[in-house]
């Protein structure tokens, strides 16, 4: 195996990681910081992708589509928060699980109702198509580099919002003790609606950007949901830095696992056994990673101790 391929795969892993971060960013806010279990995160991701595809098809402009994805997902998020989530704050956490599970059904089938059962067309805009040549001669898709850039911007923005602003502090305070923060004069309900909508918008943005190089179809949000939870938990709930590091770890593990495990086993056994054991292990790899991280650091890599 050439070093250039290994280098390219490491780059792919990093890129995949940042893409995962982008997909998890909204959930970091809603789940990591506000402490809400939102299973419908994947649905908001799907809403973003569909909004982008529909608007891009209607107007011919990818960028209008991206704007639409933000708007549609944020609106959906705000509606969900006001109509459903807000009524559940005083309840058992598990009621959120049931309610947002119900929302998955509503969104999936609602989307299918509106857009039909067949995947939609959404493709990379001309300005970002093609590949650039990286040092070392690797051709790398421009669009993926653009995703890295957006992912890093989102990470920095979230980090600043949560760690450095008063709003961020108030959200976290609200998670610790909702009644108390209200008694201090903060309109926690409005704040939560805002943050939930922001989280939804981020999910929608990810749906549009990532959906562009994947399949825009009903059900596209489900794997995203699980992956996003994995990423956040590995990094430590509530930590933006953790989510980013977690995402990159997952990205690298998954990519390199897929790439290296089969050839690793090939040195020990027959080719076909190696392929099947290697691929089986590769598909388990991120879960093995998560279990190991949690066994040794029960609160994730950057989770608050205690």
């Amino acid at each position: 195996m050439s070093t250039i391929l290994l280098f390219e795969q490491i780059l792919n892993g990093l890129q995949f990681g940042i893409m995962l971060f982008l997909m998890a960013a909204g959930l970091t806010l809603v789940f990591g910081v506000m402490g809400l279990i939102n299973l419908a995160h994947g649905s908001l991701y799907m809403v973003g992708a569909f909004a982008c595809a529909a608007v891009a098809a209607a107007t011919g402009s990818f960028w209008l589509g991206v704007a639409a994805s933000l708007a549609a997902a944020a609106a959906a998020g705000a509606v969900i928060e006001v109509a459903v989530i807000r009524r559940l704050y005083g309840r058992d956490h598990l009621d959120q699980v049931l309610a947002t599970f119900a929302l998955i059904l509503v969104f999936s089938e609602g989307t299918r109702w509106i857009f039909g059962s067949f995947p939609l067309y959404l493709n990379v805009p001309a300005s970002l198509s093609g590949a650039v040549i990286l040092p070392g001669g690797v051709a790398y898709p421009t669009y993926r580099l653009a995703i890295i850039v957006v992912g890093i911007i989102v990470a920095a923005g979230l980090f600043a919002l949560i760690g450095k602003t008063r709003i961020g502090v108030q959200i976290r305070a609200g998670e610790a003790d909702r009644e108390m923060i209200a008694a201090l004069g903060i309109d926690i309900a409005r704040l939560y609606t805002f943050v939930f909508a922001l989280g939804a918008a981020l999910a929608g943005l990810a749906g549009a950007l990532v959906g562009t190089i994947q399949s825009v179809q009903v059900g596209m949000g489900e794997p995203v949901l699980i992956l996003a939870f994995v990423v956040i938990v590995i990094g430590g709930i509530g930590s933006i830095k953790g989510a980013l590091v977690g995402a990159i770890l997952v990205g690298l593990t998954d990519t390199l696992g897929r790439f290296l495990l089969p050839s690793l086993f090939a040195t020990m056994m027959s080719e076909s056994d190696a392929t099947s054991i290697g691929s089986a292990l590769a598909s388990m790899s991120i879960y093995i990673l998560m279990a190991l991280v949690l066994i040794f650091r029960p609160r994730g890599l950057f989770g608050a101790t205690n």
């Binding site: 309840r91 049931l98 599970f101 119900a102 089938e109 279990a291 029960p298």
Partner: protein
């Protein structure tokens, strides 16, 4: 008698009456559906011990459901093919006897729950949710890609396992077996929650520090509950394999974990009959709505939303009020 007890008894009678009525009206499929309700209720009762009483939100109970199912499936299919299950160090034959399959399934699931639980209990809260999911997903992907027992295609067992003196292929008989087991695990669950152990378990959920300071290790209490919980869910898995005469890796998928959890929450977390109420309503809705429109899941979602918004404490809470078990 409290209102909740009345509701519980009514539910049990309803579950018994429906298939009996169906038997007379010659609607065998209603019996199958009722059996499915009973089986998922058993799985839910199992999960409820960990989740409701112990506060251990396991998102990985599909692991036990699937292991129970595969235990039954593999034993039966080996027996049907006359292939020994293990040849070394000594030969073990497959079997189609429920009375052998069940203990085997219980043991396997208990052992798995012991290992998974011991590792998972190092964490807590949301981390526990995710680490249990991780273990279940590992098994899921393993089952999908491991060719020996059919991989993602699953394993057909063609016949239903046997119970001495009964014709298990007769739907109503098989229902009766499942129903009896459901009542048994419900009974066990009542005793458990009111026992010394139940009190310690509920304290471990509410305040582990308090338990420690009276000299009891929360870890041991919670691990025991997790093992019991996994075993009961595994038993349900074994029955489910017999109901379908088929097992597949889908039993291990996170959808299954989610579904069992939804049954418990829908019925009412920590309510004795919650899992039964939840499973019954969900399966009923699935059955009734399916015929109405192609987009029936949209309606299902809407109905579930209404229930969660307006029924505090799940269905049992709606029907019986109160706070549930202490």
């Amino acid at each position: 008698m409290t209102r909740e007890t009345t509701v519980n008894i009514a539910l049990a009678i309803a579950l018994l009456a429906v298939p009996i009525g169906a038997q007379f009206a010659d609607h065998p499929f209603i019996i199958t559906l009722s059996t499915k309700v009973a089986i998922f209720a058993i799985a839910g009762v199992g999960l409820n011990i960990a989740l409701g009483y112990g506060g251990l939100i396991s998102f990985g109970h599909a692991a036990f459901f699937g292991l129970g199912g595969y235990a039954a499936g593999i034993l039966a299919s080996q027996a049907l093919n006359y292939e020994p299950l293990v040849t070394w160090p000594f030969e073990i034959q497959g079997t189609t006897q429920m009375l052998i399959i069940w203990p085997v399934a219980l043991c396997i699931c208990g052992a798995a729950a012991l290992v998974i639980g011991a590792m998972s209990l190092r964490t807590g809260g949301v981390y526990f949710i995710m680490i249990t999911l991780a273990f279940a997903q590992m098994i899921y992907y393993f089952a999908i890609s491991w060719p020996a027992y059919g991989g993602e295609d699953g394993l057909s067992i063609y016949v239903r396992s046997k119970f001495p003196g009964l014709n298990t292929l007769d739907p109503i008989t098989f229902f009766a077996i499942c129903f009896a087991l459901l009542i048994a695990v419900l009974g066990f669950s009542v005793l458990l929650t009111h026992s010394r152990f139940g009190l310690a378990l509920s304290a471990a959920r509410q305040n582990p520090q308090r338990l420690t300071s009276v000299g009891v290790r929360p870890f041991q209490v919670q691990l025991t509950a997790f093992v019991i919980s996994g075993m009961i869910t595994g038993l349900a898995g074994a029955l489910y394999a017999d109901l379908n005469r088929f097992v597949s890796p889908a039993m291990f998928s996170w959808h299954t974990s989610g579904e069992i959890m939804i049954f418990v929450i829908l019925g009412g977390v920590g309510r004795l009959f919650g899992p039964l109420a939840g499973a019954a309503l969900f399966i009923l809705l699935e059955h009734l709505l399916g015929g109405i429109t192609e987009f029936w899941q949209f309606l299902l979602g809407m109905l579930l939303l209404l229930i969660v918004l307006f029924a505090r404490g799940g269905l049992i809470g709606l029907l019986a009020g109160g706070r549930g078990n202490v």
